[in-house]
Amino acid sequence: MANPRVLDKRRRSIRNIRKITRTMELIATARFKKAMDRASAATAYTTRITQLVEDLMTSGMEFSHPLLEQRETVRNATLLVLTANRGLCGGFNGNVQRAGFQRWMELKQTIPTCRLEISGKRGIAAFKFRGITPDVAFTHFEDRPAFDEVDVIATRYLEEYITGHLDRLDLAYTKFHGIAKQQVVIETLLPLGTIGGDSTAPTSPAANQPQAEAGARRNIYEFLPSPESILEEVVPTSFKIKLFKCFLDSAVSEQIARMVAMKSATENAGDLIHRLSMQYNRARQSRITSELMDVIGGVEALS
């Protein structure tokens, strides 16, 4: 029979762990709500820019922009992998790392010059473990990525793409579909497939309203200076906002993953405490019984 004192000690340590995991769960919940608000705010921007692009298209202009055109030969490619700086978030980091590693191997086989860029300490460590050192590493993106920070990276990619130093940009990250669904995806951001944001992004009813209204009555716009000039600006902006949205999606998904992981850890700790309590009670009871038996045996021997 186990020692009751040892069992009690274990139970107390698990209680402490449960306190920590519960606190982490609460922190992740608060952070998730903030990250979610930021993602919704970015959706408002993408919805309006999509609306603007639709109105531009009604002017009857032909769409052509260097960022939209597929290049015949791809010599230089960059893979950006978005992971977290911290762990204890279930399979969030592992899933992105696996997908990113697979795409990295594919790119290495088909494209002569490949660059790997990783955001997040976990991703950097995982790729180093596999013997791959990233060309550029970012560790400053926490749960609140700022547009200005992403803008710096996006501007660099755009400059590289326009000057011919980059022909393709792939991004591995966890896409946020909703609270119940996050999915690891690898998207090719350059060349841009579409402009004006992500058509599959979840949008609030309020955000859909401008589109519905515009659909009801089309306006004839005056363009200042010209549709072509506006498009020239819209395409890079669209790329920047797409990249920013990916960072926001990744941040929201990380917090959800941590919240879920910590919730199940708390529940598991509760189950473990319950089991240990039963074992402890049985051990204590059997010790009392054996002591009683000793006392009764002693009394019987004396009488």
């Binding site: 921007y45 309006r48 531009l56 400059e159 200042l224 200076p225 000039s229 506006i230 902006t237």
Partner: protein, 140 residues
């Protein structure tokens, strides 16, 4: 959400950045920095899509005047709603004149070779000058 009916009695001004909706307010008059100069928008303005420059956005409603620095972007005017999409919108009162002056000095000293680098330098100069203009009006 803004009232988008053409017969609305006031304009509605919405300023959206990628991080937040900075301003969502009714307005009597809106003055915007377009790429080549200012444009004023009053009630009943014909639909417009324009490219913004770097400068001051003024929103007047009754006796109140709201002043922002907007960092490029786009404006869409339709059905008496002025939607401003910009990377950055800063209240004029929080602009830092010293930082803008420093940015202007750095940009003017920056060496640029090739069309792309020249465009970047020009953008930095225009941004800094726009900020300085807005900051100086605040003091004046």
């Amino acid at each position: 959400m803004a009232d988008t009916h053409p017969s609305a009695t006031t304009l509605h001004c919405i300023v959206v950045t990628p991080e937040a909706t900075e301003l969502d307010t009714p307005a009597d008059f809106v003055a915007l920095p377009l790429y080549d100069g200012e444009v004023g928008i009053a009630l009943g303005r014909a639909p417009l899509i324009g490219r913004l420059g770097y400068g001051e956005l003024r929103v007047r409603y009754k006796d109140e005047l709201i002043r922002y620095y907007v960092d490029g972007g786009f404006v869409q005017v339709a059905n008496n709603v002025v939607s401003i999409l910009t990377n950055r919108a800063l209240l004029a009162c929080v602009l830092e004149q010293d930082a803008a002056e420093e940015q202007l000095r750095t940009a003017l000293a920056r060496r640029a070779a090739g069309r792309e680098e020249l465009a970047i330098r020009d953008r930095l100069i225009l941004q800094a000058r726009g900020q300085l203009r807005v900051a100086s009006r605040r003091q004046g």
